[in-house]
């Protein structure tokens, strides 16, 4: 069997709801463990071990929530748009479910980044909010998420909702490079990107390591919460199939 055929078969197997239901259970179990460890390490490192900043003092520690939340807001949006696109083209049900269930998580990360940024902005800049290119494009991202969520509940038929949502997500993806490069293209009050060069980070090592832990914690938190939501929707979606009925029978036997 050729490699292409193998990949093709694996892709289809992975996308089958039953197979995914089983494998996602294992993935989420490991992800939650990594998440808890990284959260404890990141918070301890960031709030206790890391030294205060030479300019901002202790206020800079808001970074340990703000930066991972902002990165995840962008990352989740890309996942949502790509999954939506796959669902649109190949009509893969699982991709539609992943896209739909990423939206509330991504919206929460966006909200967290906006709020933590405002709390940080007041003591450092002197203002909670300014209408510079970075902040404005990030607010648009929040509205894109809200629009997507609203669109999902506007349709009776889940497959129609998924298709409409995918188009909105794909149209909105143009905002992602704008957010990323806004601090380079235009003069903004927001600082430049902290990791513009991998070899020469602008954050001191003692402050950077806890940040990496926090980024991993946020990432695995997304994986865990997404899989829980996806598994629930798979059961709902497939409630008439024999494997779900079998699963329910097994569950009842165990509990009785």
């Amino acid at each position: 069997m050729s490699l292409y055929k193998k990949c093709h078969r694996w892709f289809h197997q992975f996308a089958s709801p039953k197979y995914f239901y089983d494998i996602s259970h294992i993935i989420s179990k490991y992800a939650i463990v990594v998440c808890i460890i990284c959260f404890i390490a990141g918070l301890y490192g960031g709030l206790i071990l890391a030294p205060a900043d030479y300019q901002q003092g202790d206020s800079f520690r808001i970074m340990y929530v703000h930066v991972p939340a902002a990165w995840m807001a962008l990352f989740v949006y890309v996942v949502m748009a790509v999954a939506g696109g796959i669902g649109l083209i190949w009509h893969i049900k699982l991709a539609e479910i992943v896209a739909r269930n990423s939206a509330p998580i991504g919206a929460s990360f966006t909200f967290l980044a906006l709020v933590s940024g405002a709390i940080w902005g007041k003591p450092m800049w002197g203002a909670y909010w300014v209408w510079d290119a970075r902040l404005t494009s990030f607010l648009i991202l929040f509205f894109l998420y809200l629009g997507y969520i609203a669109l999902q509940s506007a349709f009776e038929d889940r497959r129609v909702a998924a298709r409409a949502g995918a188009i909105l997500a794909l149209v909105g993806i143009v905002n992602i490079p704008i957010i990323h490069y806004s601090v380079e293209w235009w003069s903004t009050l927001h600082q430049g990107s902290i990791i513009s060069q991998i070899d020469k980070p602008t954050v001191h090592m003692s402050m950077l390591i806890p940040l990496i832990f926090m980024v991993l914690a946020f990432k695995t938190f997304y994986v865990t919460s997404l899989l829980i939501r996806v598994r629930t929707e798979i059961l709902e979606y497939e409630s008439n199939t024999s494997w779900v009925k079998q699963l329910l029978r097994d569950y009842k036997n165990v509990t009785n």
Binding site: D53, P123, A127, V130, L170, I178, Q191, S193, H204
Partner: protein, 151 residues
Amino acid sequence: MTPRKKRIVIVCSILAGMALAATLILTAFEKNLLYFYSPTQVIAGETPTERSFRIGGLVLNDSVKRNTDNLEVSFVLTDTVNEITVTFEGILPDLFREGQGIVANGKLDADNVFKAEEVLAKHDENYMPPEVAQALEDAGAKIPESHDAAQ
């Protein structure tokens, strides 16, 4: 063309169309997307005269003069090429200090003095412990300024 190929083409054209539209819009509004003007742009007369606008730059060393009777303060803002004198009455943010990047919102008066109504501090992407900053200073190295603070 199979229906699937058709859908791929549709998705790609949505992406291409949006990218093109965004590029055109952002190019058209380029000037309006600048959050602040530099002292050089102010001196070149690129800034609005009637309405207020924002000016950004570094506070020149030894230029901050405080009035002893009230909250009035004046300082010189520089982009390392040109300088503009700024006056402000009010409470400055914690990060305001000489050598710091700031953004001020206000109007230019007839004598080319910028009357600020609001002063915001800008900080850059460099984070380090005070000891490291001190060591850098002692070694004579300038703490790298963010490229856009001095723009």
